[in-house]
Symmetry: D2
Subunit: 165 residues, 4 copies
């Protein structure tokens, strides 16, 4: 059994990449959420602004930002995105299916063409999507938060064993 | 000379508390901004959601959240606000002028009565307010960021000496 | 009742400053411990190396590092200490009793004159000192950790109410 | 060209796993260093204590801690190690060559059988090992720190282009 939840969630209301949350790695105390973003060549994550820092590590394939046409992240590359940065992520057409491990602190604000807010994604919204997905597909709603002190308004039904060592 | 910028900025479009940014403590790499919020008894910071964690330390006076009527933070108290929490800050009527040191990571999203976004405050927006304030009042625009690697679209004219030891 | 534990702990085996831990602010997940260091003019915290970052905010008085003779931190100043920095803290002779709020991540390694390790202080060792102090003085051993998921080998007997909002 | 430095450094004075530092990912401001630890089945990283938090993500193979005989981390698993934890890492005998991506904040203290300090590894010591390795092998000493503000006593000769976007 792996640490990835085999559940493909939609991250963005407009993009067509998907993500897997990592088991037990949504942290309601620091706002960190860890996930593997994955997509086929040519797929996109629509334009968004970061309100916290991000580290990405490319597991396979290649991806970039439309706003930075020269730069491309390939297998084994690490990237740090600064809070306040705005960009549109794409999976490169000339490579294979792509997977990127992301450590995201805080929120992603998806933007329309005029720069207005469409939607804000954070540890809570992504947890809610995860719970909805499990309920719709008759999958167990395993607690993905860590540390385990109860969050008042997020309801998990199954509690995995301790992760930290 | 103290570490506080003697420049009272408006944090919120609707509230009436003010803040002083701390010298050299806006961090464009982690999204941290450090400030002293201050206000007279009865003043408010309008309803907002956090998209990052916050630590507060009450320097003097007393304050609380309207949504948590029993709890009051007094001189020497520390508080941690979790990402995703929503509340309205008030300065207690029965105490003196209040000062709170805040370490803020990420963004504050100010909300209207229906829960819609009015305005989002982060390290960049607060830096821009600071620069505007300095320009309007003929004050030197000292670089308040740390570490000092240049941020492409934020323009500081004066650079203080190194802070870290 | 304030957020400070009225319990003066010895931070260093050789120095003569003291510290108060802040209530509920030892974090076993990130390694953060928050404290108010205090001392009379002329007192010292012996030479040490940091293995994590630190933020300090001077509440009153003035202090500096022997290794940086010009620099002095006064009321309202903020300082960031980088991981790996080595220095000896002193309370200035020409000022009043001094108090400094410190956010410490990770460990302090106290060093002898040859640079060898005397002692390493971290969230766990300082929690143990706190428990010892309480037991010796018949004070309740209140859980100072946050978040509250149990740490296997640290035993608190009293659990305060929830701090985060 | 990938984000990994093709330079195998010894992490521990006693173990026989190796590591690759990730390009531009030693952070002197927060104490973070990012690396890929790799080893053949049966190899070890000797007993050590953490003085900061760690996240690990297993890229391939399988590994565990001798002190926790049941637990094994496999491809796709994530682990959080709490500050203060002590353990001995081993690469599982029944799997292939193993690679683990580690985000390490602060220091690792390697311990002898009596629990005494043998050696402390942090962002600075690992940077020094990297510089030594490059000099001995006539490889360019590329600046692996980020952000790029100069660190006084660490000397890099080549500066790569900007990483953050």
């Amino acid at each position: 059994m792996t640490g990835q939840m085999e559940r493909d969630l939609e991250l963005s209301p407009e993009g067509n990449v998907k993500l897997k949350l990592l088991k037990e790695k949504v942290d309601p105390y620091t706002g960190l959420w860890i996930m593997v973003l994955h997509g086929t060549p040519g797929s996109m994550l629509s334009r968004h602004r970061h309100y916290g820092q991000i580290y990405g590590y490319t597991l396979k394939g290649a991806w970039g930002y439309i706003e930075h046409p020269v730069w491309l992240s390939k297998s084994g590359d690490v990237v740090h995105e600064t809070p306040g940065s705005v960009h549109t992520l794409y999976i490169d057409e000339n490579h294979i299916d792509t997977e990127v491990l992301f450590f995201v602190w805080g929120a992603l604000e998806f933007l329309d063409k005029s720069g207005n807010t469409i939607y804000i994604e954070d540890w809570r919204s992504i947890s809610m999507k995860y719970i909805d997905y499990c309920n719709k597909n008759n999958l167990p709603v395993i607690d993905i938060t860590y540390p385990k002190q109860k969050v008042p308004d997020v309801e998990f039904k199954h509690h995995p064993s301790k992760m930290d060592l």
